[in-house]
């Protein structure tokens, strides 16, 4: 349905419900939807499951959401970083649940959700701790782990530019998880640096077509 151009980040995150699974884009600060996370903190939804590559840095962004006790579970590939002390503290206090997923399987499981794939056999992680309890199968002589889709109720992503229809382009390695998360959530919210007229993005270069994007907000309109 038609992409909604939001007046500010608060409008963009309106309606996110308690208990939602929220996919949060970015790899480090590149592609991180900071304005949307800040708006989600103000918005108040709690008991969230957050799916993101990391589990927050320092005291801002995801870390601030975690610090407010709003996140029940984190699904990520790398929670432990030099400045992930907010997550570390919650984890050691047994106040947050953690599912560690190899980075590629994290991306592929969201891709499967977006692509209507029911499950897939993946060689990554076979024979390791992270495959414990998972179904396995040897295919072509190689062990594989059966992985299921990760779906979001909401995806919050950062992109570079949108047209008014909702087509997105990214910039350099800030592309990372955004295009995959945009396919995997019921409601997809993108913060962008600029919004251009429909037709101003070359159709050959669109990375996330408008069909995947529900709401767009320009950064700085917070």
């Amino acid at each position: 349905m038609t992409t909604q151009l939001c007046a500010d980040a608060d409008e963009a995150v309106a309606g996110i419900e308690d208990g939602s699974t929220v996919l949060v884009g970015g790899f480090g600060m590149a592609g991180m939807p900071v304005a949307l996370i800040d708006a989600l903190i103000r918005q108040g939804a709690k008991d969230l499951t957050v799916v993101s590559n990391n589990a927050g840095n320092g005291d801002t962004g995801l870390a601030a959401l975690l610090a407010e006790g709003r996140v029940r579970k984190v699904i990520c590939s790398f929670p432990r970083q030099r400045d992930s002390y907010v997550f570390d503290g919650l984890y050691r206090a047994d106040r947050i649940e953690l599912e560690v997923v190899p980075q590629g399987s994290l991306a592929e499981r969201m891709r499967a959700a977006g692509a209507g794939i029911g499950a897939f056999y993946c060689p990554t992680g076979a024979g390791t701790l992270l495959a414990e309890g998972k179904e396995t199968r040897v295919i072509d002589g190689r062990p594989h782990v059966l992985e299921y889709p990760i779906r979001g109720d909401v995806a919050l992503i950062g992109a570079h530019r949108a047209d008014r229809m909702g087509n997105l382009v990214y910039r350099k390695t800030a592309r990372n998880f955004g295009p995959v998360m945009a396919t995997a959530a019921t409601t997809v919210v993108a913060q962008v640096r600029e919004i251009v007229e429909t037709g101003a993005i070359d159709p050959e270069t669109v990375v996330t077509p408008s069909i995947y994007v529900d709401r767009v907000v320009q950064e700085g309109t917070a």
Partner: protein
């Protein structure tokens, strides 16, 4: 340094006492990186793990034709960015600002890991806690009960590339071998390591066993006495 994958920061500093049999004593980390760079074929597509493996890039000669992949979505990554070239939208997998070279390409995370998992990279270079005689690799988790597990892209890289090169010191700070009969640390991948570059020797992991390709300040016999696994001489 943000470490999404490798364990290089836990690799001890190299021993710099010369070995008993060779004035070319145990190698420093820089020498190990140079050895790895020497063995990367011209024109290879390569992923260098975070931490020490990253330094292999400094030893690739001009005209090597090597194209570097970074799993956060780029091929033909250039050197670290300095000064005005720093762009927050352009980093490597260690979240260090980098540059692009002519002919680079950007893609999203699912495509990037499809490239890795699909076996399209020629070489990947990783750090390690332990490598077993069967090529099992342990580089993501110490197994300590209070450790917060964090794997990043380690498992994807371990099983994806055509050749997996490991760079590590051969012994821990306390002198325990890191090339072992069986890994005691939790595995990153099974049977995935092809070659192990260390300060004392370079090893090939083969179906017949561990082959010593070259030694630095030591001998195969002396290594065999310090390691708890059979060693085969090259061409033996």
């Amino acid at each position: 340094m943000n470490t999404d994958r490798s364990t290089a920061q836990e690799v001890p500093a190299p021993q710099d006492t010369p070995g008993p049999q060779d004035v070319r004593g145990p190698l420093g980390q820089d020498d190990i990186a140079a050895l790895v760079a020497r063995d990367i074929p011209h024109g290879s597509f390569v992923n260098l793990g975070i931490g020490r493996p990253t330094s292999v890039a400094d030893h690739l000669p001009a005209g090597s034709g090597v194209v570097l992949h970074t799993e956060n979505g780029m091929l033909n990554m250039g050197p670290a960015a300095r000064g005005d070239a720093v762009d927050p939208d352009l980093t490597n997998a260690g979240k260090i600002p980098v540059t692009e070279l002519p002919g680079s390409a950007y893609f999203h995370h699912a495509d990037s890991f499809a490239m890795m998992r699909g076996g399209h990279l020629d070489v990947c270079v990783l750090g390690a806690f332990q490598v077993s005689a069967a090529g099992d690799l342990a580089n993501w988790h110490t197994g300590a009960p209070d450790a917060i597990p964090a794997v990043g892209g380690a498992m994807d890289l371990a099983i994806g590339a055509k050749k997996v090169f490991v760079m590590m010191t051969l012994f821990t700070r306390t002198g325990a071998p890191k090339l072992v009969p069986r890994c005691t640390y939790p595995l990153t991948g099974q049977g995935c390591a092809d070659r192990v570059y260390t300060d004392h020797a370079v090893f090939d992991v083969t179906p017949e066993g561990v082959v010593v390709r070259e030694t630095f300040g030591t001998s195969v016999d002396e290594l065999a006495g310090r390691l708890d696994l059979p060693l085969l001489p090259l061409g033996g």
